[in-house]
Point group: C2
Chain length 231, copies 2
């Protein structure tokens, strides 16, 4: 273990698994989140709880865990509020994306991550991008991330890599990976403290965690959990 | 003229030339600036003056000029304020860059530009990046921008291009280009209203414009003007 990592850690299920994955694999691990709208404030609270619990999961993880960073991105809401014109409008409606959708959002997240990683002397960006679940988002695909890695390293004269451990995993496989990395304690941490629900719901407790249970993110999480436990 | 453009328009000399270049070449032109620290507030004022004067320069330019956008980027200052560690620190000091330098800043600017262009149905990003003057900034090089164009279009399923008319121009050639595009009226607009000075100085008027006259940006601007007028 000589390399160090910056984990894009939103406090969701996928990024919590990525954090544990990175803590098993990299000598020093820092974490990064973006504050871009009100709905995500619940996730930002959850992630601090998760970070607080990391040393109780595993003493070595606690020793490897370094600084946490939260970057404000008000520009995303501003871009999302601009009027849609022409081709952009048509393409987005075909994709079924909301009218406030900011295309290429993950390119921004990863480029911010790379700039921070460069300054912090970190070698690898770790992110929960996934082709299996988010096929509607071309900025989550591995080919896109390979092209972005190239642009980042040319633009920063760096050698940063982007590690996406969940890229080819189903949600059921992600739960299995969590269990493999951190056993029942990590699965329990994910259930209790990671947040996925689009509605920001934290009052209803299900077997797979908190959430409204009916939004697409809750359904995906619930279904993955059920598939994993049934297997 | 069927294509439309988004000009990265900071209010500096280079981006003012890019704006005039785009107004000559594209059917619809929108403008974008980033608000990321106090020193640039002077530039932000200057750019509004320039936009106000565009229709008096050329009636057709006035008709083609569309919406102006300013995006807040507080995250740049936050990244610039993080402690430097390891390789990042060493490499930056070798380059003679300030300790608050954010590597890959132009990657962020252009990716924000691409997201906005997508939503606004604009085809081309126009930016004043220049290999001749900014060889210390690898994110201004054409090879980097080609790689970024690839990443953006994979990540947004788009066909946006990045047009950099000043890439191979010296500062003297930039003044000549301004004169070629808009004659004495444009040269005068650049002298009176574009802002380049790092110190934010607007009280001292020189033959080439306002500024402290001693910072690297003023020196480059003055030298280019002198070379151009002497030629």
């Amino acid at each position: 273990m000589t390399k160090s990592a910056l984990v894009l850690f939103s406090g969701g299920q996928d990024s919590t698994i990525c954090l544990a994955y990175a803590l098993e694999r990299y000598a020093r691990v820092e974490t990064l989140a973006f504050d871009y709208n009100q709905r995500h404030k619940v996730e930002l609270d959850c992630r601090l709880e998760i970070l607080k619990h990391i040393p109780t999961q595993n003493r070595e993880w606690g020793e490897r865990l370094g600084d946490d960073h939260i970057l404000p991105l008000p520009a995303l809401a501003e871009i999302g509020g601009t009027s849609l014109i022409g081709a952009g409008e048509i393409k987005m409606q075909e994709n079924g994306l909301p009218s406030s959708f900011v295309p290429g959002r993950n390119l921004l997240f990863l480029t911010y991550g790379a700039a921070l990683a460069y300054r912090r002397g970190l070698d690898v960006l770790v992110g929960g991008m996934c082709e299996t679940d988010y096929s509607g988002y071309p900025d989550c695909r591995r080919t896109t991330l390979d092209a972005l890695t190239n642009a980042i390293n040319l633009g920063m004269e760096s050698a940063i890599t982007i590690d996406t451990p969940l890229m080819q995993q189903t949600k059921a496989q992600s739960w299995a990976l969590a269990n493999e990395i951190g056993g029942a304690a990590l699965v329990s941490l994910i259930i209790e403290h990671s947040h996925t629900c689009y509605e920001g719901e934290r009052n209803h407790r299900h077997i797979w965690g908190y959430g409204c249970g009916t939004c697409p993110a809750c359904k995906l999480r619930a279904q993955g959990y059920q598939e994993w436990t049934a297997a």
